[in-house]
Amino acid sequence: MRRRVVRVLPAFVLASVLIGAWELYVELSGVEADVLPAPHAIAVELWNSAHVLWRNFSVTAEEVVLGLGLALVSGFALAVAIHLSPLLRRAVYPLAVGSQALPIPLIGVLLVFWWGFGIFPKLVVVALICFFPVLVTTVDGLAAVDPDQPKLLRTLDASRWQAFRLAELPAALPAALSGARIALAVGVIGAFIAETTTPTTGAYPGLGRQIIAEINAFNTTRAYAATVVLFAFAIACFYALSVAERRLAPWSVQTRGETP
């Protein structure tokens, strides 16, 4: 317990200093609340709008978690396919890189045309933004196996599939998880983009759409309150993934040292 306190203390102190400086800046500069609300006003807004923020948050959280899941599965599967087939590598890699240049609003319309106003088009947008880091890190992880390892396994009579399952797949897992962390960092903003580019019919459209609506209605304080929720969610996801990594690839955590 004490160790845990010591570990979160630096982040807590830094956040306090930054929030204090922000409060002081708003107080002294006289910037209007429509432009930059004071932290204490945001805190009050968080409390007052807790219900609507929570409902929108649960929509966004679902998009992030499921979209990331889709990105992890597709990124990992594509990486394995690319690893096993040089032909696929040459065919798919350039397109995967190119896909990252797609302006999401352009295809948002098409996704809605295909799949309607439900959650699925949003998951596709999140996955499209997030799969790339998973793909690249996993491909590199799979290729980073010691070149003597396959030789050793062959003399132990391992089949190609056994060599893959015993050596390459576990070796790539830490790299894939690093990719997942990068994906997660962009996943939350990915959900924001998804919500703002594909319309929805739900009663609660998600935090992204809410933020845009609040900005347009000059409710800047509430837009900031919603942003604080996204901010906290991104941090929580990151740590959840670190916990998952400790379970999935304990050897990597042990040899590398503690995760942030």
Partner: protein, 272 residues
């Protein structure tokens, strides 16, 4: 329990071992030799290929420990890969019973315990995790690894890791062990201990061993016969029979005399 009791009394195969499921083939009792005749191998390179071995001939009798010494880059590792069937020679013929490679680096899988690493070949052969663990566990105590069953490779010392890697090689059930500088990365004291350990282990569990090393002393301490290779392309420039009693001490006069002979051969090969 003493797995090696029968072997010590001189019977050919420890009955204890024979009664257990063997991963690939059963231990071969028939005398099978390793015979290389006029073997050449070149690595294809950009523009010019690199000749690793050029007309190498050698033999190793069943149960013999053949040490191959030579300067760096004389094709020693290539020789082992040829024996293991990982490469095919450009020219010449190779007859070799099923062989298993122990590369220079231990290549233990970091996500498996020492026990699971040792039993890797059994898992590959289709045995259950429990069966592989039971079989590897029996040998752990015999090979001085008791108490480290659950340790991950990064928690083991260099010498321990090599022991686990050797046990993994042994449990492949193959007759020929190809050891590629197994102790090259260890400090002098650990290397000495491991050489004694290997000699002792091979008495208990006789196999045909091809030991590649750049350490002439190691070769003479362990081997029945030492082949000295010339620099690339590798050719056998000397073959020394080491008919000395075991255990051998590194300061025994016979050992030092043979060492001088081998070093002379190495130096001669370097000039030629």
């Amino acid at each position: 329990m003493n797995l090696w009791g029968n072997a010590r009394e001189g019977s050919e195969v420890p009955s204890d071992l024979q009664s257990r499921p063997q991963p690939t083939t059963r231990r071969r009792i028939a005398a099978e030799e390793i015979v290389l005749e006029d073997v050449s191998f070149a690595f294809p390179g950009r523009g010019r290929s690199v000749q690793a071995l050029d007309g190498l001939s050698l033999r190793a009798a069943h149960g013999e420990l053949l040490a191959v010494v030579g300067p760096s880059g004389c094709g020693k590792s290539t020789l082992l890969e040829l024996l293991c069937g990982l490469r095919t020679p450009d020219r010449g013929s190779i007859a070799c019973p099923p062989a298993v490679l122990m590369p220079q680096r231990d290549l233990l899988l970091p996500w498996l315990s020492a026990l699971d690493n040792a039993g890797l070949a059994l898992r590959i052969a289709g045995f259950s995790r429990a069966q592989a663990r039971a079989r590897a566990g029996e040998l752990f105590a015999e090979l001085g690894l008791e108490g480290f069953e659950r340790a991950r490779p990064h928690e083991l010392s260099g010498g321990m890791r090599q022991r686990v890697a050797f046990l993994r090689t042994l449990l492949s059930g193959k007759q020929v062990l190809c050891l590629d500088e197994p102790f090259g990365a260890l400090d002098a004291i650990t290397r000495g201990e491991m050489q004694e350990w290997l000699a002792g282990t091979l008495v208990r569990e006789p196999r045909t061993v091809v030991l590649v090393t750049h350490d002439v002393e190691e070769a003479i301490l362990l081997a029945d016969r030492v082949v000295v290779l010339s620099p690339r392309p590798g050719l056998a420039v000397a073959q020394l029979e080491v008919e000395l009693e075991r255990p051998r001490g590194r300061t025994d006069t016979d050992v030092t005399a043979l060492r001088e002979l081998a070093l002379d051969a190495l130096a001669g090969g370097g000039r030629g």
